[in-house]
């Protein structure tokens, strides 16, 4: 439940059992309201179909025995290396600068596995496959990637894990 919904709920009559409640700080009223509604929650729930896939993805991300290190802010000289990519019909291509200023590229036509896929899926797989290839070639090490796309579905997939 988002903050706005909490505010609406807390502002309703339910949250005020007595006149003094109006003087309670926000967090206290939130706790009180939460405990009042906890009895509505089911004890058991049915997992959604994607739950297992999500758990497997999390298990993969948490696979190392020690916590992964994260580059929060690089402390070396910055350099902007641009890459481009696009998918059209059954074809795809992308290119990017390597640190040595050589140009790397990948292109080709899709196999039959994407014949029934949408153009959004083709756009997204091109972006994802290109990043994976860059990773394999070591072009993402100590790099921060800014990915720009005109495809809002790819953007949604990146942030939500699904469209």
């Amino acid at each position: 439940m988002g903050r706005t919904e909490w505010m609406k709920l807390i502002a309703s009559d339910i949250a005020f059992e007595s006149e003094q409640d109006i003087n309670l700080p926000f967090e206290s009223r939130k706790r009180k309201c939460s405990s009042m509604h906890s009895q509505d929650m089911p004890e058991l729930v049915e997992p959604v179909p994607r739950f297992k896939d999500d758990l497997q993805a999390l298990q993969l991300l948490l696979g190392k025995s020690e916590p992964s290190l994260r580059l929060v802010r690089g402390n070396k000289i910055g350099m902007c290396l641009v890459g481009f990519g696009d998918a059209s019909g059954g074809g795809f291509r992308s290119s990017w600068y390597k640190e040595s200023f050589d140009i790397a590229y990948r292109f080709g036509t899709r196999g039959p596995e994407l014949d029934d896929g949408s153009s959004n899926l083709r756009e997204f797989t091109n972006l994802a496959d290109t990043l994976e290839e860059m990773g394999r070639q070591g072009d993402l090490k100590n790099m921060e990637v800014f990915l720009f796309t005109d495809n809002s579905t790819s953007e949604a997939a990146y942030f939500n894990g699904t469209c």
């Binding site: 999500d54 948490l62 894990g161």
Partner: protein, 64 residues
């Protein structure tokens, strides 16, 4: 990076849920346990944002 304790706890939570699902098909999960787990994993995903999209399965289960 996060602490070893938190990392291990996150791993245990995920592994336990996976074990539950794999042991018995069509199993139902405890609401409160899921709620607690997703709260902690959400905390961890502030350090590791790549984990965040995969919490959707938790939220869809809780709110479904």
């Amino acid at each position: 990076m996060t602490t070893q304790t938190k990392w291990d706890r996150a791993k245990t939570l995920v592994t336990e849920f996976l074990k539950d699902l794999e042991e018995e098909a069509g199993t139902q999960l405890e609401f409160k346990r899921l709620e607690k787990a997703v709260g902690f994993l959400c905390h961890i995903s502030r350090t590791y944002p790549t984990m965040f999209p995969y919490l959707k399965g938790f939220y869809n289960t809780l709110n479904g």
